[in-house]
């Protein structure tokens, strides 16, 4: 299953609903382009909904890290929402779980942005 990204805005937060696989190639490129487009348009509150992401490889992990630093370098915040078990385990193994601000509930996540 290839990756899809749909963007919506709720209370000033840009939520990117991702689904499928974030892997080397198309999946990573879609994520990169989506986040760069949002940042380029001045958005500084970005929430990546990974609830429908069933697979991610090291390239996808790298793309999440890159998105995080890109937004942070522009003075913004990027948070993660609804990790599947596989993605959660990968972020734990790579010690990135504590780097990202991870939320389970969308309303709580939106309110958590400054």
């Amino acid at each position: 299953m290839s990756m899809k990204a749909n963007t919506r805005q709720v209370d000033g937060v840009m939520i990117v609903d991702l689904s499928g696989r974030i892997t080397l190639g198309e999946g990573s490129v879609i994520l990169r382009d989506t986040v760069r487009d949002l940042v380029g348009k001045g958005n500084k509150k970005i929430l990546l909904n990974l609830g429908e992401v069933n697979y991610i490889d090291s390239s996808g992990i790298g793309e999440l890290v890159s998105a995080f630093t890109t937004v942070r370098n522009q003075g913004g915040e990027l948070k993660l929402l609804k990790l599947t078990k596989k993605v959660h385990d990968l972020l734990q193994i790579t010690k990135l779980y504590t780097v990202f601000d991870v939320k389970d509930d969308e309303t709580t996540a939106i309110k958590s942005f400054k």
Binding site: L24, G25, D57, S58, S59, G62, V65, K95, V99
Partner: protein, 148 residues
């Protein structure tokens, strides 16, 4: 299942990464690993093939990737070779080090080691061979150890 082997020569393309992953998934299921172990094996194979295609052969169409699956007496053994400049196992940065934590790349070998029971890296001059080993629960080797 014992003695079963698969040997493929793959192009240095992204399609080869997906093919290797799918082939390893089917093979691991045939060996009898549970779903979680199959997922770990598949991901390790994906990462190893990415290393061969991207970092080893650098997508060079003249260079091939060797892909070999084997069910030995007590293990599933995956051997992946490339024809690149060679990966020195002593020069692989630790992706968990604070200075590397936010780097975009460098987690492939780490994940392979996390998901497999044994990982052997051998320089081929030119190229690199990665041998990934996952022990089969309850297989001959495990029983032997348990009886000692």
């Amino acid at each position: 299942m014992a003695g079963k082997r698969v040997s493929l020569t793959l192009e240095s393309t992204l399609d080869s990464v997906n093919s290797a992953e799918e082939s390893a998934t089917r093979f691991a299921a045939g060996v009898g690993f549970d779903d979680d172990e199959i997922a770990r094996i598949s991901m390790a194979v994906r990462e190893a093939t990415i290393n061969a295609v991207l970092h080893g052969n650098a997508y060079d169409p003249a260079k091939k990737v060797g892909f070999h699956l084997e069910r030995t007496r007590d293990s599933m053994v995956i051997t992946i070779t490339d024809q690149g400049q060679g990966l020195d196992p002593n020069k692989i940065p630790d992706p968990l080090a604070p200075e590397n934590l936010l780097k975009q790349s460098g987690r492939g070998i780490f994940l392979i080691r996390a998901f497999m029971d044994e990982v052997q890296i051998r320089l081929l001059h030119p190229g690199t061979e990665l041998k990934l080993i996952k022990h089969v629960p309850g297989a001959a080797g495990d029983n032997k150890e348990a009886s000692q």
